[in-house]
């Protein structure tokens, strides 16, 4: 069983998802940033929050679709890596990782400020930084060792914190002095947009819903609903907090405060209100920081899994099951960022803006990824929630544009830092990732607009002597069908074992044999320039196992080797082959390679559903040696004149070729009129290297219908014989 084995318990309902998303979002951002926001945009900073919320909403919409289409850990990073390939994956991965660490450091410093400022003799940067570090260490411990029963506690704290903010807003609305709101936008539109860049960090967190998509009940409904609703509600809350703050205290004096919300609260809620706000600010900082550390470690973990960074990170703790190395690395860098606070006066704004920058870049690439996913429509991407028509492509386009607008208005130093991180991602890709990562992204398919639906030909290999020829035929078949999908070969070897059990080791030589076969197949494929995957299967019944592989791979065609003999112990071709011929739901070709070269094939075309399939297969096989196949029809000379028969025969060939979508220059036509059809067939086909014959339709019951003509071909023709059965 693969690593996909096992389901995840869907334990998160709507309320849990909302708490998770909202609780992660409502954090230190709203307690610390109103001061800085007021300073740079005045009362209009409420609009900055609204814009930031709108940008977040757009990202939430795109992420909702991606998350329901591909629920996998890693969030935005993963979607971008998958859609746009390793380069952008590295850029977004590093950006998100550093961004989340900026955010985490920001929360922890803010946490220290709220705790220290109200107590005069504890003032001082050193103390704030020290408190932040202590808090960080505690959080790292919790995340490293894991905690049991923490979610109930978290729900209570998030509930309390939200209730305190609601009271602050509800009461505060009555204390707004409209005079304070004049002038509303003292720094103009530029100030508003620039502030948007700073406060965007307050919205980080809704993405966690996408990250845990696999654990959410009824995902197609709850994921989009909780993402959208949590962003909208939080935006409204933030806008109100900002209006109340700037309405109660003139924005100039609000701007000077490192603990603005608490300064506002004291005006109308008294000391008790301040204590409540300090309490709320601290839990908010802790819960946001906790989520950021967790999210950061998940990003670096996912990068390790995809090979973007060393897979050293890609290990979870043997006892606590936490990504402990990723957490340790994240914690170390975050601690350094907090320490920078000792030296840099404006560290809070800087961290907030740098984190916002990284995420704005990440989310604009998420929007692009959504477009790429839609256009490329890869296997396995089947979102249960898709943005409806007017929203798509409006949401991704608007999302990218707005993100860029906000980024363009950011402080120069932030743009420099942010660009440096992006540059680092690019360099990292060039120096480390490239060459290691197989993931190419879907960009090319998306631009070409071609279906990435592969055309998959499955080739069971068992015999080293024939596998080369089989793979060549399969490659030719797949390539000839390139118009129906990207050609792809799957070589599979089934080792029969009476009672397969993971505990019972296969005899070593059999396992070696299997590995050699598949490795050899790889070498052959590499020489032919086709994509090949290999699968090794151990199963009691070869035929059943092959059917299962065909189903799993959604195979379009299977090419089976066969020894050219008929009737084995009650089976027509052999027990495994019979099973596949009877039950496979794709085109089946049974090939007996009697000759090295495929050369010029001839297809025996008869009226009926199999005719076009056989004709097309002959054309596919002809591609191996670049020949033109002959479509042969044999008419019995019994009734009517020979020329009538000739005309009838040509009509049969033309019909079949047309049904198979062949151009007249892709084949030659030959019609033979004879008394003994079987004899004529054997004689006529004797001149060709490979004979393609149809097996009549889908057999009913257990017997495989087997015409006498086919039997004569199998028995008497010297060249290669391919028996074809359409799906």
């Amino acid at each position: 069983m693969s690593a996909d084995g096992g389901e995840l318990e869907r334990t998160l309902g709507f309320v849990e998802a909302m708490t998770l998303g909202g609780g992660t979002m409502i954090g230190a951002g709203i307690f610390i940033l109103p001061g800085i926001a007021a300073e740079s945009a005045g009362p209009a900073s409420a609009i900055s929050y609204a814009i930031a919320g709108f940008v977040a909403l757009l990202a939430a919409l795109s992420l909702s679709e991606l998350a329901t289409g591909m629920p996998i850990a890693g969030g935005s990073y993963h979607y971008v890596n998958r859609a746009l390939g390793g380069l952008f994956g590295a850029v977004v991965g590093w950006g998100m990782w550093t961004g989340l660490m900026f955010a985490s450091a920001f929360y922890m410093i803010g946490f220290g400020q709220y705790l220290v400022e109200p107590i005069p003799f504890l003032d001082g940067r050193g103390f704030v930084v020290g408190l932040g570090l202590v808090g960080l260490v505690l959080l790292l411990g919790v995340n490293y060792y894991g905690t049991e029963e923490s979610s109930a506690f978290q729900n209570v704290t998030i509930g309390t914190e939200t209730a305190i903010i609601l009271v602050f807003v509800a009461v505060g609305l009555f204390f707004i002095d409209t005079g304070n709101l004049e002038p509303f936008a003292p720094f103009g539109a530029g100030g508003i947009v620039a502030t948007t860049g700073i406060v965007f960090i307050s919205f980080l967190g809704f993405e966690i819903i996408a990250t845990v998509a696999g654990e959410i009940k009824n995902p197609s409904r709850i994921i989009p609903l909780s993402m959208i609703l949590s962003v909208v509600l939080v935006t409204i809350l933030y806008v109100l907090v900002m209006l109340v703050s700037t309405g109660v205290i003139p924005f100039e004096s609000l701007g000077d405060s490192p603990i603005p919300v608490s300064d506002v609260a004291i005006v109308y809620l008294g000391p008790a209100g301040v204590v409540a706000i300090v309490f709320a600010a601290i839990i908010a900082a802790i819960s946001s920081s906790n989520s950021s550390i967790l999210a950061a470690s998940r990003v670096i973990y996912a990068m390790g899994r995809d090979g973007v960074v060393t897979d050293w990170f890609n290990v979870s703790h043997p006892r606590y099951y936490t990504p402990h190395r990723a957490i340790a690395a994240t914690g170390g860098v975050t601690a350094l960022l907090i320490l920078v606070g000792l030296e840099v006066e404006t560290i809070i704004a800087l961290l907030a803006e740098a984190a916002s920058f990284s995420f704005l870049v990440a989310y604009s690439l998420v929007h692009v990824s959504l477009v790429v996913f839609r256009r490329a429509d890869p296997d396995g991407y089947d979102p249960s929630f898709a943005l409806p028509r007017p929203l798509y492509p409006a949401v991704p386009i608007l999302g990218v544009v707005l993100s860029l607008v906000v980024v363009s208005q950011m402080a120069t130093v932030v743009v420099v830092i942010g660009s440096a991180i992006v540059g680092f991602g690019v360099l990292w890709y060039a120096a480390y990732t490239r060459g290691r990562v197989v993931s190419e992204g879907l960009l090319r398919e998306a631009i070409r607009g071609e279906p990435t639906e592969p055309f998959r030909v499955v080739v069971p290999v068992a015999n080293p002597a024939t596998q080369h020829g089989l793979l060549r035929l399969a490659a030719a078949s797949a390539t000839a069908n390139a118009d129906r999908g990207t050609p792809e070969l799957v070589a599979v070897n089934v080792t029969p074992v009476a009672h397969p059990s993971p505990l019972q080791n296969l005899e070593a030589d059999r396992a070696d044999h299997q590995r050699d076969l598949l490795e050899n197949a790889h070498d052959i494929a590499a020489g032919m320039n086709v994509t090949l995957r290999t699968r090794a299967v151990v199963a009691p019944d070869v035929g059943e196992a092959l059917l299962e592989v065909l189903e799993e791979e959604a195979a379009d065609e299977v090419i089976l080797g066969w020894d050219g003999t008929l009737e084995h112990d009650g089976h027509v071709f052999g027990s495994a082959v019979d099973t596949v011929v009877r039950e496979a739901r794709c085109d089946v070709s049974l090939v007996d390679l009697r000759d090295e070269t495929v050369g010029t094939p001839v297809a025996l075309v008869a009226p009926g559903p199999n005719g076009p399939v056989v004709a097309h297969q002959a054309v596919e096989f002809a591609a191996v040696d670049g020949t033109v196949p002959t479509l042969l029809n044999v008419q019995s000379s019994g009734a009517g004149s020979d020329s009538d028969a000739e005309t009838r025969g040509r009509a049969v060939v033309t019909d079949a070729a047309e049904a198979a979508g062949l151009d007249p220059d892709e084949y030659d036509t030959q019609v033979v009129v004879a008394d003994d059809v079987g004899q004529a067939v054997v004689e006529a086909t004797g001149e060709y290297d490979t004979v393609c014959v149809g097996l009549s339709g889908r057999p009913e019951g257990s017997r495989i219908p087997f015409g006498t003509v086919t039997e004569r071909v199998v028995g008497d023709v010297l060249g290669n014989v391919a028996l074809i059965r359409g799906s």
């Binding site: 334990t11 049991e148 936490t322 505990l503």
Partner: protein, 235 residues
């Protein structure tokens, strides 16, 4: 009235442990359907998807190893934050009447069935009847009477239950009953349980999250060496 053999038992196994519980008891239950649930408990702070990434194949192998040699109807592997929720959900999905906790038992000849009055009685007796009809065990029905109360009530309950099993088609020779007068039912059941190969218990309060294994119940189950079969109390 004869019970039909439609008994389906859910057997949860913690696949995060390298040492897996013996399930010999399954081979002695006769023709019952067994759904094997391998659950991997994921700590709150850890992410199930991540744990599956890392331990999915090991867990699947362990589950296969547990299943090997026993006639199991279905196998499910779940990574979960909430073991009880998973057991509940899977039991619902597969229509399981009872949940088996593993314990050491090489044979199943004697079954102890503690009864606590009318709670869940129909279901418990239904499951016991199915068990007895599917295999060839004997069952002892047990009721613990609190001190200072009239023991006749307990007798009545037990005799009624025996009659019910006979109605279901179980041979009367295979059922006996026993009245405990020790006082604390929990201790009684644990003490007595040692003499039996399997204990059949009813779910406790269905309104609680831990309804499958409530506090009293888990105390008993933990103290028992042998396996216990917990009869579900849901529609």
């Amino acid at each position: 009235m004869t019970r039909l053999g439609d008994l389906t038992i859910l057997v949860p196994v913690d696949v995060s442990e390298a040492e897996l519980p013996p399930l010999d008891v399954l081979d002695h239950l006769g023709a019952v359907e067994v759904v094997l649930l391998g659950y991997f408990p994921v700590p709150d702070q850890a992410e199930p998807a991540l744990v599956r990434d890392q331990h999915g194949s090991t867990a699947a192998e362990r589950l296969d190893a547990v299943a090997a040699g026993h006639a199991t109807h279905d196998e499910v592997l779940v990574f979960t934050h909430d073991r009880e929720a998973t057991i509940d959900r899977i039991a619902d999905e597969y229509d399981c009447n009872a949940v088996l906790t593993a314990g050491r038992a090489t044979t199943v000849d004697r079954i102890l069935v503690p009864l606590r009055g009318d709670v869940n009685l129909d279901r418990i007796l239904g499951v016991v009847a199915d068990l007895l009809l599917a295999g060839d065990e004997t069952a002892t029905l047990f009721n613990s009477v609190p001190e200072d109360t009239d023991p006749s009530q307990g007798e009545l309950l037990l005799m009624g239950a025996v009659d019910r099993l006979v109605e279901y088609g179980v041979d009367r020779d295979r059922i006996d009953w026993r009245l405990g007068e020790g006082g604390d039912p929990q201790t009684d059941i644990v003490e007595l349980g040692r003499e039996y190969d399997l204990v059949v218990l009813g779910e406790t309060d269905p309104s609680l999250r831990e309804r499958i294994i409530g506090d009293v119940l888990s105390g008993i189950v933990d103290a028992l060496d042998g396996p216990a079969l917990i009869v579900r109390d849901v529609e």
